[in-house]
């Protein structure tokens, strides 16, 4: 085996663990820490041997050839056949993709497609155009997406649903977006060229990566979401379990007890929301405080697009702030000292099942320009609640008797 240390040292040798006396080894310790960073950061399976650029080359190549040949009508036949070549098994599962083949050359000709491409060059119009194109089984981009979807499903479902493959899968989805964007640009380039409208403005593609993640990724993500989210769930299974236990413990607390336990300052408690019937005691009421924020946060699982999830997070914050404003009768700016305990309250009441998987999926797939920004902050705050709830379970006795810290 090979043991890599964070400082760059590598111990290579035979490791044994006989009769439980710890790890015994006989080997060579390499202390020359050259070219090791790469190896340490990327120890997930398959990443080095099989980088994302090398995967599904067959699928892209066919498309590329089609594009380079000028998207001739007669070439389309060979192009549409491209995914059949990958493997015999795949062919069977894909046959349904070709059921509309008969109508293909009638309804959606490549000339018309190129013509339409030129009409949509503003960002919003590109988005709606791409959405339509990617949904169509007749559009080249739609075909590409289908092929990638099938490949992805075949790889990462069933036996491929293994947490060690998460990074690989996540990278792959991002790469699909990049490739689809590139092919879109290629098609557009071709269309403009054929019309003789090629301007230098249309050629520049240096924003490509960023555009791909902001425009294409949300459109294609639903195709890969079930498998991808499954991998996230598997990857964060242990943390999610701890968190769930914490949530279960906290759910036993009545509202007032929980507010107290989480050190939410008394003047922020929305006691007005605790309406009582005759045989109720206020101290026993549950799930009544900050209800609007809680319900808002629960919508997190109903969305796929990381951006939408982040907007839900923002809305949750706004609901929280709104409630506090109502309680205090004035606008109040929530500093973290106040915000974090309130957020903990909402998170523990929202009881989102696989919160760890959600958080990490959002972080990995959100638009990278969000890094360090407000959405990043909100996500980080949510993550910190998630972490804290996990730890509560670990030391329940230590947490309970802590006096309020202000």
């Amino acid at each position: 085996g090979k043991l890599s240390f964070a400082n760059g040292f590598v111990l290579e040798g035979t490791f044994t663990n006989k009769s439980g006396q710890g790890l015994q080894t006989h080997g060579v310790l390499n202390t020359s820490s050259e070219q090791l960073d790469e190896r340490i950061t990327k120890t997930q399976l398959g990443l080095r041997e099989f980088p994302v650029e090398k995967r599904w080359k067959g699928i892209y190549d066919q498309f590329l050839e089609f594009l380079q040949s000028g998207c001739k009508e007669e070439m389309e036949e060979s192009f549409t056949g491209f995914h059949i070549q990958t493997s015999k098994e795949l062919r069977k599962s894909q046959e349904y993709l070709f059921c509309q083949r008969g109508t293909e050359d009638v309804s959606w000709k490549i000339e018309d497609i190129l013509e339409e491409l030129v009409q949509h060059q503003e960002l919003e119009s590109i988005q709606s155009y791409l959405e339509k194109a990617l949904k169509s089984s007749l559009h080249p981009l739609g075909k590409l997406l289908k092929a990638l979807t099938v490949a992805f499903q075949a790889t990462y479902s069933g036996i491929g649903a293994n947490r060690h493959l998460l990074t690989m899968a996540q990278e792959e989805v991002k790469y699909y977006a990049k490739k689809i964007w590139e092919f879109y640009r290629g098609l557009l380039h071709l269309a403009l060229e054929q019309k003789g409208q090629l301007s230098p403005r249309a050629v520049d593609g240096d924003m490509s990566d960023q555009k791909a993640s902001s425009v294409v990724l949300p459109l294609i993500l639903p195709c890969f979401y079930p498998e991808l989210f499954m991998l996230y769930m598997l990857y964060h299974e242990r943390e999610d379990d701890l968190y769930c236990q914490g949530i279960v413990d906290l759910s036993l607390f009545p509202d007032i007890k929980l507010l107290e336990f989480l050190d939410v300052q008394k003047h922020l408690w929305p006691l007005k929301d605790l309406t009582l019937t005759t045989n109720q005691r206020r101290s026993l009421i549950k799930d009544k405080c900050f209800l609007s924020a809680t319900e808002c946060l629960q919508k997190l699982i109903t969305t796929v697009d990381p951006r939408e999830k982040l907007l839900i997070l923002q809305k949750t914050y706004e609901e929280l702030e709104g409630t506090v404003g109502r309680v205090l009768g004035k606008d109040y700016k929530l500093p973290m000292d106040d915000l974090l305990p309130l957020l903990m309250y909402v998170v523990s009441r929202a009881k989102i099942q696989h919160l760890g998987a959600e958080i990490h999926l959002i972080r990995d797939l959100m638009d990278p320009t969000n890094q360090g920004g407000m959405f990043d902050f909100l996500l980080t705050a949510l993550e910190s609640c998630y972490e804290h709830i996990q730890r509560m379970r670990l030391h329940p006795r230590e947490n309970c008797p802590l006096p309020p810290s202000s």
Binding site: L3, S4, F5, A6, N7, D37, I40, T41, K42, T43, Q44, H164, L166, T167, D263, Y317, E321, K333, L334, P335, M336, D337, L339, L340, P341, Q371, G372, G373, M374, F377, L378, T380, A381, E383, S384, E387, H388, R391, N399, L402, S405, S406
Partner: protein, 220 residues
């Protein structure tokens, strides 16, 4: 850090993340609120009122986007620190000059930050509430000597009287620009390092990396 600087068309622009640390009642929030609201009362959409604030600056032709992250000061949340300060370019560590304890907390944060982030992060130690000079419990000399010994800069502020705050942030920005440029040059020299995206099996030994203190921030 990796997201520190980006070359934008027509001039340099930097994006910095600054994390705000300190005990509950030391006035860290009023400090940033003062700073961000003082001159222009523009209600920016991308601010969360008091816990996340942004500010745009122009320093010698360099555009700086500052994102200031507040943290909860309660001791029970201390363990959540790393989630907030990861990828920070700077940290503002606030204590109350009338409260010896809060200074001790700052020392703990410094130790932790240096251990976790090394010398890449610019540290500012801030003695707040200098309007309460009479009740001072942390001596100026002690604080400044400590700051120097850990390669941090020390500032005296009063959020109440709006003293020293502008200088603090301006100075911090300059230092972060400097660090980002040094970092960039080092990266340009071939030793490409991508410290991001660590996931998977990784064995980390407990020894903190050996760091020479005081190297990073000899500011201008």
């Amino acid at each position: 850090m990796a997201t520190g600087a980006s070359a934008a068309a027509g001039g340099r622009s930097f994006s910095f993340k600054v994390v705000l640390l300190g005990e509950g009642c030391v006035g860290k929030t009023s400090l940033v609120l003062r700073y961000c609201e003082n001159k222009f009362n523009d209600k920016h959409i991308t601010t969360l009122q008091a816990s996340f604030l942004t500010k745009k600056l122009n320093i010698g032709g360099k555009r700086v986007n500052l994102a200031i992250w507040d943290t909860a000061g309660q001791e029970r949340f201390h363990a959540l620190g790393p989630i907030y300060y990861r990828d920070s370019n700077g940290a503002i560590l606030v204590y109350d000059i009338t409260d010896e304890d809060s200074f001790q907390k700052v020392k703990n944060w410094v130790k932790e930050l240096r251990k976790m982030l090394g010398n890449e992060i610019c540290l500012c130690i801030v003695g707040n509430k200098i309007d309460l000079e009479k009740e001072r419990h942390v001596s100026v000399q002690e604080a400044e000597m400590y700051a120097e010994s850990v390669g941090a800069k020390h500032y005296h502020t009063s959020a109440k009287q709006n003293k020293g705050i502008e200088e603090l942030f301006l100075d911090l920005c300059k230092r972060m620009i400097e660090t980002a440029q040094v970092d960039e040059r080092a990266r340009g020299n071939g030793s490409s390092q991508s410290g991001m995206a660590r996931r998977g099996v990784q064995i980390i030994d407990d020894e903190p990396q050996v760091q020479s203190t005081g190297g990073c921030c000899s500011s201008g």
